[in-house]
Symmetry: C2
Subunit: 273 residues, 2 copies
């Protein structure tokens, strides 16, 4: 069962549709954030809602509903679903006929049963397809995912496209990216990428555990000498990478990936709300 | 009155909505093309439908309806509307739950009364706001217009954002761009931009009239010595530019702009279908 909250009611997602005059359809003006539950409690809910608000603000959209009310709806949605849940909260530019700068944004929330990557992916690692471009407006979590589809067409095994403008690896289409080089965890600086919630947590946990974290874009040319690579995201958590384009990563799910997974598992509770 | 054709019927646009599970909403997977009428006949219809097909194909979407049938629907829509019409034909990625690579794309067509830019704009020229990025996948006319909104927030007078990656002017958010330098008409090469239908026509007319057309990106640094600048599009035709960022164009609607407008007006008939 998949639910959608829209216009003050919960409905089956099959019954829910958005006016074609909404700017999300007309002009791709839409932002969202993804949240998951552990033991039926939303993880890092406040951080996600704050980021949703900031994504919207960067385009000039004010949230059409308070964050407190959003949290209430999310809790009600979780209660209505069986088992663990993944949610996407969307905010749109509102109707094109409203004129002006987004006077009446719309919002809706989709609730689905939690669907993690298959277990094998955590053992064998996933494939990323490098593309020579930057994610447009990296601080905004917009609905623009065309590069992901175009990237994956070029490599059927690829789970995600990997943004590598001029050979500098920033992030993948739906995840943050990390590469272990000379024992250090290297990841793009926050100015260049979406400040992923899981990314923030992984950096914090790594530093607390005394691991070196270097905030610079790993280079595509460094892949051959990388010891490990992984991507992170709210639903996938910490997922090892086995191949980037034609280049294999020497160790899949190596000691640092496993250590971080272990540290994360121990601290999930801290972020449940 | 605004009409929408969807699911084999014409309805008022207010009654038309798209399932939230469509990839156009979920992931911004949508392409479109804009067509206008002159004397109730669609202009360059076949060229537009061909380009729509190519935009879709570049993402991996096959048109869910033949171009011949699309043309029939468009003619019927034009008949149902009063006066001149502008239409946007949209093709979406289809439902996210369909799985696979776009097995069931959706399409819909919006019909609106033709709305040209105000007459003053043709006399006084419009303002463009330069942004330091390339339009992603310039050959695809996708629904991704966030840069236009973000650009216009920075300059309230701006009609469109002007893509200027590394100072090279490619195109504006909804138009092709031309600048007259040393008496030559300079415009980005086709590899770098959307191959606009009006752009093709303007280049052809200019060359036939013996004007020099140089296919290279005009530079932002060349704006101070440009004699004229204009943008082109199916609805706006040939629209003069008066300012790009903080730099004024020396002559607004100068001799070359006016000559091309004149040549275009004489040849509209050739493209009516």
């Amino acid at each position: 069962m998949k639910l959608c909250f829209y216009n003050d009611e919960f409905k089956s997602i099959k019954e829910m549709s958005l006016p074609v005059s909404d700017l999300m359809i007309q002009r791709g003006v839409g932002v969202f954030d993804t949240i998951r539950t552990y033991r039926k409690r939303p993880h890092a809910l406040s951080i996600h809602l704050k980021r949703l608000e900031e994504s919207a603000k960067s385009i000039g959209i004010e949230l059409p509903v308070g964050k407190k009310r959003l949290a209430e709806i999310i809790r009600e949605g979780i209660d209505r679903m069986e088992g663990e849940v993944q949610m996407r909260v969307y905010v749109t530019g509102g109707d094109v006929f409203a004129g002006g700068i987004f006077p009446h944004p719309r919002y809706f929330i989709i609730f689905e049963p939690l669907e993690k990557a298959p277990k094998e992916d955590y053992v064998n690692g996933v494939v990323l397809h490098p593309i020579d471009m930057e994610r447009p407006f990296p601080h905004i979590k917009s609905i623009f995912y065309l590069p992901a589809y175009i990237g994956r067409r070029q490599d059927k095994e690829a789970m995600e496209a990997l943004y590598c403008p001029a050979g500098e690896i920033t992030e993948s289409s739906s995840s943050s990216f990390f590469m272990v080089i000379d024992g250090k965890i290297v990841t793009a600086p926050t100015e260049r990428v979406l400040d992923g919630v899981m990314r923030q947590i992984v950096i914090k946990l790594a530093r607390e555990a005394g691991l070196a974290v270097e905030m610079r874009c790993p280079l595509l040319s460094e892949v051959p000498r990388a010891q490990e690579a992984f991507i992170t995201g709210s639903i996938k958590e910490i997922l090892p990478v086995r191949r980037i384009g034609s280049q294999r990563i020497s160790q899949v799910n190596g000691p640092i990936s496993q250590y971080l997974q272990h540290l994360y598992a121990q601290r999930i509770e801290d972020y449940l709300e």
